[in-house]
Amino acid sequence: MSNIRLMPAEDSKSKALPIVAVAVAAVMAFALFGLPSLASDVDTSATIDSTTPAGSPASSEEQVECQRVGETLCIYLEAEWKAGDVGTGFANWRYTFPSNDKGAIGAGLYMQDLAPIVSTKEALDWWISQCAGYECTDFEAIATGTTTNTVTLYDGTRAITQFTGYTVNSDENPDIIQFGQSVALLPQTQNASVVIFDLTFVASIEQLSNLSEAELEQFYTDIDEYFWILIEERLAVVGA
């Protein structure tokens, strides 16, 4: 019962005040600057699979290094991706603004439905095998209502890239957003396209919501730029 007996109040000018004040300032400063600094140090080896979509082929152990795009976008590539095996290619990514600690991290820069494709040549062969009965070798871009770009591949094949828009994982309480671009080969004789290359970024809505309008715009611009780099690298685009 006596364990809660009060001690006489100290004089507030006692030594405890400056010590506690400095200690509080130190803890606050460490939380504000030290922790983010530590986190940035381990980023290059860290696993960031925070929003990995179910069924995606993410394999954290295989993320080996960060491929920087400008100062802001950092892609952790998996071995399969680096090897060009885009059928299982997957990468985690982190986006940060140098001016502050805001940004977005996520997993899911990945390609879909591309198992047979490892090169443009193989892509075309695969495409041809898929479209028996059509004039499959006569490709051209078909404009759609969404943002598209026509690209010409190294062998003269034309394809379109199409902004695939945004999807969220829930209508009521979305916390993940996906956005991306597709490259589709389109025959003249049919309206249906076959996606041969689909890039999807998955991000946390909460993190993106913390960005200002200007930062968000910068983020999308940079991501879009990275899409183009990948499209050009992977499909050997020679003209757009």
Partner: protein, 356 residues
Amino acid sequence: MHESFFRRNNLAVWVWGVFCFLGAADFLDVIEFAISSGQTFGMAAIAVSLFLGISVIWLLRWLDVLDQEPLGNVVAVVLWGGLAAIYVAGPANDALGLLIGSVVTESSGWLWAIVAPINEELLKVLGVALIIVACRKDIHGVMDGVFYGAMAGLGFEVVENIYYYASALQAAGGTEITAGIDLLALRTYYAFASSHMAFTAIAGAGLAYAATASATTTRKVLVASGLMITAGVLHGFWNSPIFQELGDSPLYILRGVPALLVLVAVLMWVSKHEVTLALSVAKRLPKGLILKEEIPGLVNPLRRVASAVKRTRLPARERKRQIQLRNAQLAVLRAVMLGYEQKIVDARIKAVRVYR
């Protein structure tokens, strides 16, 4: 005489000022966005949150008329929670999330149940530590730690809710308010008192115990760290994915039940011991000054609340006399407990006799 936190040559005020200033600048950006979005909801949500916060402070002070903490000190600790702690918690949470993200993934639902309690409970309670050390003469026991902890949690809660509303607005492009209204209902009405206020009140109790109790250092460290860890675990439970399936259901409040139960247990523990302590002090005072049956109504917060409600039925003059008498009795108890000079104790005893 109260000891103001905002006084000259108080180093703690500078620490408080720097971090609150940084937090205020960030908070004003959010307010500006909510207003510039032209959404009535955004402004209404902010107004409701601030109104609720101020109402809680007013209510607690009204109920606790016999032991009101200085308003300036209360404002200081509320602002610490709402500006300084929350400002630092953002980047700290992101960073710790990255550091341990390889061990606990976000997709498991447990990452923020671990990260947020570690950072946020520590950051909030630092404001309580500043008040306790800077205004030691005004800290009359563990209950004051509970109160200041609750106030730091209240500030954090109100501003965090506003951040959430602003995020919902921003995610919706400033046009769709459904998500924001859900958040308002969930966070403000269902779970207001059972989250940050309760967590930090529990942690604050430990800190005040370490500062005021006559106990061994080991015991103080154990109690303070034990209650701090308890607050963190309760926060983690609140954030955990266990109740995720409840979604928007009013059953959402279930996640706060353990925190409320622990808080009630802490309050009972503190009240019991403070009543015991007050009884032993009262025995040493002149006969008839403070009656045995009056003690619980003086030092037990729940009894004080009951007395305050009971007094509302009395005529204004008698109500005033009773409040003055209780204040004077409490002042005598504190002067003896805290070892004030005899002339101060004598002056307070005189005041009790006047009102008796």
